[in-house]
Symmetry: C2
Subunit: 150 residues, 2 copies
DNA sequence: GGTATACTGAAAATCTTTCGCATCTTGCCC
DNA sequence: GGGCAAGATGCGAAAGATTTTCAGTATACC
């Protein structure tokens, strides 16, 4: 047998999952791949599930929810609660950011504004609150959707 | 029969409901009363339902949801989506505001910061979005809860 | 009062997410 | 490489929140 173990590249996903303290299983690797490769940065569990189906992966919806929750706990993904029933997940970029969401087409623009972040911190401090987290979502109509309709 | 129609005061609730284009019915009046009289400014449908029960009102939970949704459509109440399952409703004060929520005890502090509001408007404008709404919720631990635990 | 229409309560249906559990896998030791 | 225990998966059932359905009832208006 010629060649070393290096002939087979160990996918980055496996490292991430292992480092998160989770066993490397097919569902976990596939779900992470979907999140990394999909054009949508923000996907609902259902979105992920459908993407898996379209890749002919036999993974149950319950497993998708379970794995996404584990990934969240491990800091691999962030869960968002925008309006409209389902939670959406995105890979954790490591940097906090907020969202601008188009109410017509669902387009999402991410932003980070230090002025807002500072004001929030000040307001919380004035009330004596110790901030744990925050959620800022601005809903509006994106340029494309404004063109399409009056 | 002495006395005019003015002897019987028409409750303000009835006016508000009528002006909203809705028929004045017992459930609607009671629910509006609960929202006005309850110490909690922010109530879930379940909260309202329980308050009704404690007032010996026979109103179904489905009706509570229906009425709250109608009130929202009529601009009488605002629906909020804080973390944790249920939506909460509050009377529409006519003035927008955001929320600081204690993750331990649920205490809510309302605030309005023009600096933040302006920054949001600018950010949306830069992206060409026409703002329709926004939701800013800061989660943290209130002073009381900080004292109670390490 | 009489009537068309809107409203109501209760149950059933939806929708999203989580559980229970029998059945597989993975990670690890020999 | 095989054996094993802990941990994961898939499936169906269950749960929790909200909405819909529908037959009976109340309201607004004449
Ligand atoms: Mn994002
Ligand atoms: Mn409020
Ligand atoms: Zn759009
Ligand atoms: Zn508190």
């Amino acid at each position: 047998m010629v060649g070393s173990a290096r002939d087979v590249e160990i996918p980055l996903e496996n490292q991430q999952i292992k480092q998160a303290g989770l066993k490397v299983t097919a569902p976990r690797v596939k779900i992470l791949e979907i999140l990394e490769q999909s054009g949508k940065r923000h996907m609902s569990a259902e979105d992920v599930y459908k993407a898996l189906l379209s890749h002919d992966e036999e993974i149950g919806l319950a497993t998708v929810y379970r794995v996404l929750t584990q990934f969240e706990g491990a800091g691999l993904v962030c869960r968002r609660h925008f309006e409209g029933g389902q939670s959406v997940f995105e890979l954790n970029s490591g940097e906090h950011h907020d969202h601008l969401v188009c109410v017509k087409c669902g387009k999402i623009v991410e932003f980070l504004d230090t002025t807002i972040e500072k004001r929030q911190a000040r307001i919380a401090a004035e009330e004596g609150f110790k901030i744990e987290d925050h959620s800022l979502v601005v809903y509006g109509v994106c340029p494309d959707c404004q063109k399409k309709r009056g």
